[in-house]
Symmetry: C2
Subunit: 363 residues, 2 copies
């Protein structure tokens, strides 16, 4: 990302400039080898070192417990919607799903193609996703293989601040859009997965962190490529991994580490979200956020202007100030400011200043 | 790839230098937008243009018929080993597989996890893959859903020069390692797939070309993400595609087009292979190729020196001349010179000159 531009895209999203500069500088000649890292064998020492470094940094940055595997796979979170039930439900059993938007809907639908899966709670009020259900509202099956939820909902802008712990049932979360923005308490989890294209890197790689015993109960009656345990056994080298995407992910993890790690990302994330929602609240109703305050996402601030015409104008004028990617999702409309790790606080200040100017001239 | 280096890697393999230079030059600022192409929404106009251009160029370069879809997916060829039978065999039926090495073995094993699949012929002689079976040698089932084969076998260095046409049964081929090196007669095919990391681009994207009626008979009783027809319906935007990998693929396709297209790639490929195998034949038995002449791969020339120690020495001395990636696969040993599209004829001449020098000094 160029330094004069602030990219609020929901994903694929902006990446830290140093991670991209490093990629550019060694794109044609990796460490004097005469070839790009993407032109080298995934079984060779050069890529091998990158692969191990990325896996190791992921583990260190999130304090992943020793009984969890870290995997780099393909297919994004949507791929995991399919692989998760293929592994856990193919040979029987049932799973519970918490419904907080489109991604939960897709995850549940995929599971129901494979086996038994139930919706056990929802964040919808009068048909609109404006909150997340508390754990007491969930109709849980204590015999479920897992309880699935989406930790952050990019489209509607809701986020779980407390996980819906499920009475001994392993949690599984799609954390695509808030991973690495706060620490994770792994105690109740069987598995966490996250497409890279928000907080981690480019699209094309999905990170899976899963407890070994949870992986071990996966079906063996499916093609090996879909067996999560098989990927774990081979250290995510069961087949050719997306080497350049993992290399970029490594660069991003290096940047997170250099900036102070996950706690610093969380501190910045709180500060960025407070400023945007603060600007919404301070606008005397010009900007309106439909999400209940307790469930407002720190990653995707979704709000509306008085009319769709003003929404459109806001996006266009913001782009003139090099504030890009602010258009809301087509199903929700309005504005969506995604505040992922690579979005700098100064960038958010520019957005907040623009919001004030725009409200003043159009109120 | 640096111009003084020749990369004979089997994959991920060398890419054309102009394709990488273009990526480097616009890595941080795509067309003045202030962001990298990998930082932009896959639903936005900028990436959308790249996506359509890549799909269109693939179609034009290979003269893909109108009743075929072109798809860009994730998971590589190994992913397709799983998705193909999930689509075609999940709800019943059987498929035939031609066995010509490790990749065929994996493809068959994956299919047998899903439904019925039979091995119907092999290139093995006394346990070693040294040829490809002729169509008359195949024990074909006229009711099979498809007949699968691997068009080029990277590990052992065999290649089909004529496809094993199956009496009305749709052919399905894994063409990962020879796609875009020669024209394809699509008439007998139901589907062709190819991981990008040899002739097309970086790892992380797999190209699928499939006849619409073949796709349409795919199962709907599997998660949507595994339904090839669903990807076709959404123009390979069913979920977030690996945008940067597809962008690089587009750059490579541009290069192929600028160089003269597939016929020119085929002409060069023949010339490169003739020179390497010619050097083997001219070596008075110092270099030995175990593959029958008619089945020798134009993409991966596999040969052995008199001893494993000499193989190792050959690889090391070649690297000193900046001829890299020549080590044979661990299961076969010896030397493997991969002659994919990005390997220039001058590079092959350097290899051939080195082979003569090495033979002279060590014979």
């Amino acid at each position: 990302m160029r330094d004069d531009t602030v990219n609020f895209s929901a994903g694929p999203a902006g990446l830290p400039t140093p991670a991209l500069e490093r990629a550019r500088d060694e794109l044609l000649d990796y460490r004097g080898l005469g070839a790009s890292i993407m032109e080298l064998s995934h079984r060779g020492p050069e890529y091998g070192a990158v692969h191990e470094e990325a896996l190791g940094k992921m583990r260190v940055l999130l304090s992943v417990p020793d009984d969890f595997e870290v995997l780099f796979l393909q297919g994004g979170a949507t791929g995991m919607f399919g692989m998760l039930p293929l592994n856990q439900l193919h040979d029987g059993g049932s799973a519970d799903y918490v419904m907080t938007g489109v991604w939960s809907d897709k995850a549940l639908a995929a599971a129901q193609k494979v086996g038994q899966a139930r919706a056990v709670g929802s964040g919808a009020v009068d048909g609109a996703q404006v909150r997340v259900p508390g754990r007491d509202e969930l109709d849980l099956d204590p015999a479920a293989k897992y309880l699935h939820f989406t930790s952050n909902n990019t489209i509607v802008g809701t986020q779980f601040s407390n996980y819906p712990v499920g009475r001994g049932v392993p949690l599984v979360a799609d954390m695509s859009s808030d991973i690495l923005s706060r620490p994770i308490d792994f105690a109740d989890f069987g598995m966490i997965y996250a497409g890279a294209q928000k907080n981690l890197g480019p699209s094309g790689v999905v990170v899976v962190m899963a407890r070994r015993d949870f992986l071990a109960q996966g079906s063996k009656n499916i093609p090996t490529i879909f067996q999560l345990a098989a990927h774990a056994e081979k250290g995510s080298l069961l087949h050719t991994p997306p080497t350049f995407s993992i290399y970029l992910l490594r660069n991003v993890l290096d940047w997170v580490e250099a900036e102070g790690g996950v706690l610093e990302m969380e501190r910045r994330s709180r500060a960025k979200a407070e400023r945007v929602y603060g600007a919404v609240e301070a606008s005397d109703g010009f900007y309106r956020c439909r999400v209940e305050p307790a469930a407002r996402s720190r990653m995707n601030a979704v709000f509306h202007l008085p009319t769709p015409e003003l929404d459109t104008r806001f996006v266009a004028e913001a782009a003139e100030r090099r504030l890009i990617g602010l258009k809301g999702h087509r199903t929700v409309g309005g504005i969506r400011a995604s505040l992922y790790n690579a979005v700098r606080l100064e960038g958010v200040d520019r957005l907040v200043a623009f919001m004030a100017d725009f409200a003043q001239s159009h109120a």
